[in-house]
């Protein structure tokens, strides 16, 4: 789609674009290019000598069992966050779509976690589940289970998944609710007249019609789990115990900032960029399909 009526000026459009393009070049393209460049170098601990080593940083990563473990951790983490977030929000949205009374109040009470910073969400959940003073820990211990996410890897994972999912439920809920409300009532009514009960109607009519929304949310949630959950991890487990919650983004940060391994961290950055590009392409192909649909 293009405008028929346009203005003419030799310099004005460039002047209008200049601020955006300047910020883009200085803070996006230049650093990205540098990350690319560093990824082919090895730097000594003092940052004085740099040596060009070709693809060695990448080769090292492929053979680094920690890095491969981090990949696996990220995959598990993002699938758990996306899966549970989508399931819970869909259930809540389906209920909210049914009720007439109090719908707005429910919506208001469900959307506020979106506003909580991931790092703050981490602090809230870590406090609830704190090994010695947490109120939920108290209940779990009363029930006879041992709970200490500071030492147990799978419990640490559970904690960060809960905190990350909690924050994302609002977002999923709003999109599911909008999706549910755009489904033509006549289809659901026709099925009801044919004798289909509520559960049958949901699985054979509503759920398939929601599939574009579900797919979209799947991609968005995976992107969220990959990148935006850095704050959750850093304010709770910091990747521990023993790397059990060290997702890829956290490892880039840890290796680059804390451990000072510029080349290795940059190589990881380049790999992450490729992952984001793949996810973005997936998202946009979906949008194109939605237009036809």
């Amino acid at each position: 789609m293009e405008k028929r009526v346009v203005f003419r000026s030799a310099w004005l459009p460039y002047a209008l674009l200049a601020p955006q393009i300047a910020v883009t070049i200085v803070f996006f393209f230049w650093p990205a290019a540098q990350a690319f460049w560093y990824s082919f170098q090895i730097q000594d601990a003092f940052g004085i000598n740099k040596e060009f080593v070709g693809l060695r940083n990448f080769a090292d990563l492929i053979h680094d069992s920690n890095y491969l473990a981090s990949f696996q951790t990220t995959a598990i983490f993002s699938l758990l966050v996306a899966g549970s977030g989508i399931a819970i929000s869909l259930a809540l949205a389906a209920m909210a779509d049914r009720v007439l009374r109090g719908a707005l109040a429910y919506k208001t009470l469900l959307i506020w976690p979106y506003a909580v910073a991931p790092a703050v969400a981490g602090v809230l959940w870590a406090f609830l589940f704190a090994p010695s003073i947490g109120i939920v820990t108290y209940v779990i211990k009363k029930a006879g289970y041992n709970w200490d996410w500071v030492l147990q890897g799978d419990q640490a994972m559970l904690l960060v998944v809960m905190a990350a999912t909690w924050k994302q439920i609002s977002y999923n809920f709003l999109f599911f609710l909008a999706g549910l409300q755009s489904i033509p009532r006549s289809l659901v009514e026709a099925a009801a007249i044919d004798g289909a009960g509520p559960a049958r109607r949901f699985w054979t009519i509503v759920f398939p019609l929601l599939s574009p929304t579900t797919f979209f949310l799947l991609v968005v949630n995976i992107v969220y789990a990959f990148f935006d959950t850095f704050g959750v991890i850093d304010s709770t487990t910091q990747g521990g115990p023993a790397g059990a919650t060290q997702i890829l983004v956290y490892k880039v940060y840890y290796d680059g900032v804390k451990a000072g391994d510029l080349g290795g961290s940059s190589a990881q950055s380049v790999i992450l960029m490729l992952i984001v590009i793949a996810l973005t392409v997936a998202q946009f192909r979906f949008i194109e399909r939605k237009v036809q649909y």
Binding site: K3, R4, V5, V6, F7, S9, L12, P13, L16, L17, P19, Q20, I21, V23, T24, F27, F28, P31, A32, Q34, A35, A91, L92, M95, A96, R98, L100, L110, I111, W112, P113, Y114, A115, P118, A119, V120, A121, V123, L124, W125, F127, L128, S132, I133, I135, Y138, W166, Y171, F175, R185, V188, P198, G231, D234, S235, V249, Y253, G256, S269, T280
Partner: protein
């Protein structure tokens, strides 16, 4: 409502209320903890009814911060967060508005190239270019400054898209009429486009304010000076190793202070928030 099934309606309400209760529970416990003394929190289990230390804890957080190595008043941090959130929101809106105006209302060489350049930034989140971006900002002498906190984050592909989509729906007749009346492009921009864009700008402001307020990784890197911490960073720095060493009552008061402003924005500007959320994802 397709048919009347009273039981199902009851179940729906029950599920929603249970969901809301579970979702609100962490917030409630945080609030209760922020009204207790440290001793009350450390006795297991902590009480689940609010105590009487609300005023003491909050005023201590605001003016002094938690005692310990990294004590800094949260009042100052909230100001930093506010400056950062507002500057990022307004900055994104301003530069994206004029950029998309140029892309929609002008034909010029390299137009598509610039458009794609902005588009590609979607694929380069801060998290994947941490160290080089930090180096650029450090070389420019922007560490520990508001400019360093905000400027690198104000480029926005989503805002540019949003405005572009919106401008494309403005009727051609308006531009035509302005041209016949002899108005130049900037006159048209200020008198027609800007007033029409108000609701889109409001929706975007809500989303970007929350985005700016909740930034974590970037302020963590560029602020080393306590007077430049944002409140989200401040909380993290207050938590010391070990449950017993941390002054949880003050930390929880700070957590409430960190989440109330963006939560208030979402709840009070709900209509714009939902509009912004849905439109930025189009």
């Amino acid at each position: 409502m397709v048919e009347n099934r009273p039981w199902l309606t009851v179940v729906s309400h029950a599920v929603l209320i249970a969901g809301i209760a579970v979702i609100a529970f962490p917030l409630y416990v945080t609030f209760v903890a922020s009204t207790l003394t440290l001793d009350q929190i450390l006795q297991v289990p902590m009480p689940l009814v609010p105590g009487d230390r609300l005023w003491e804890n909050y005023s201590k957080a605001l003016t002094a911060g938690a005692s310990g190595a990294a004590a800094a008043p949260v009042g100052r941090m909230m100001l930093n967060s506010l400056v950062m959130a507002v500057a990022i929101a307004l900055g994104k809106i301003a530069i994206s508005l004029i950029a998309s105006f140029a892309i929609v209302y002008f034909r010029f060489p390299l137009r598509n190239f610039f458009f794609w350049m902005i588009f590609v930034t979607l694929m380069l989140p801060v998290e994947v270019r941490i160290i080089p971006t930090y180096k650029v900002v450090s070389d420019l002498g922007m560490l520990n400054s508001y400019v360093g906190l905000t400027l690198p984050l104000i480029a926005s592909a989503t805002a540019t898209f949003l405005f572009r989509q919106f401008f494309l729906t403005i009727p051609e007749e308006l531009a035509e009429a302005s041209r016949i009346d002899g108005a130049g492009p900037m006159r048209f921009f200020f008198d027609v486009v800007l007033p029409l864009s108000k609701t889109s700008m409001a929706a975007l402001f809500v989303i970007q304010f929350i985005y700016g307020w909740n930034q974590y990784l970037w302020p963590l890197l560029v602020t080393t000076d306590e007077s430049m911490y944002t409140v989200v960073i401040g909380i993290k720095r207050m938590i010391l190793g070990g449950d017993a060493l941390t002054e949880w009552n003050v930390v929880m008061a700070t957590a409430m202070l960190a989440l109330l402003p963006p939560a208030a924005v979402v709840v009070l500007m709900q209509k714009w928030f939902v509009k912004g959320l849905v439109e930025t994802e189009k």
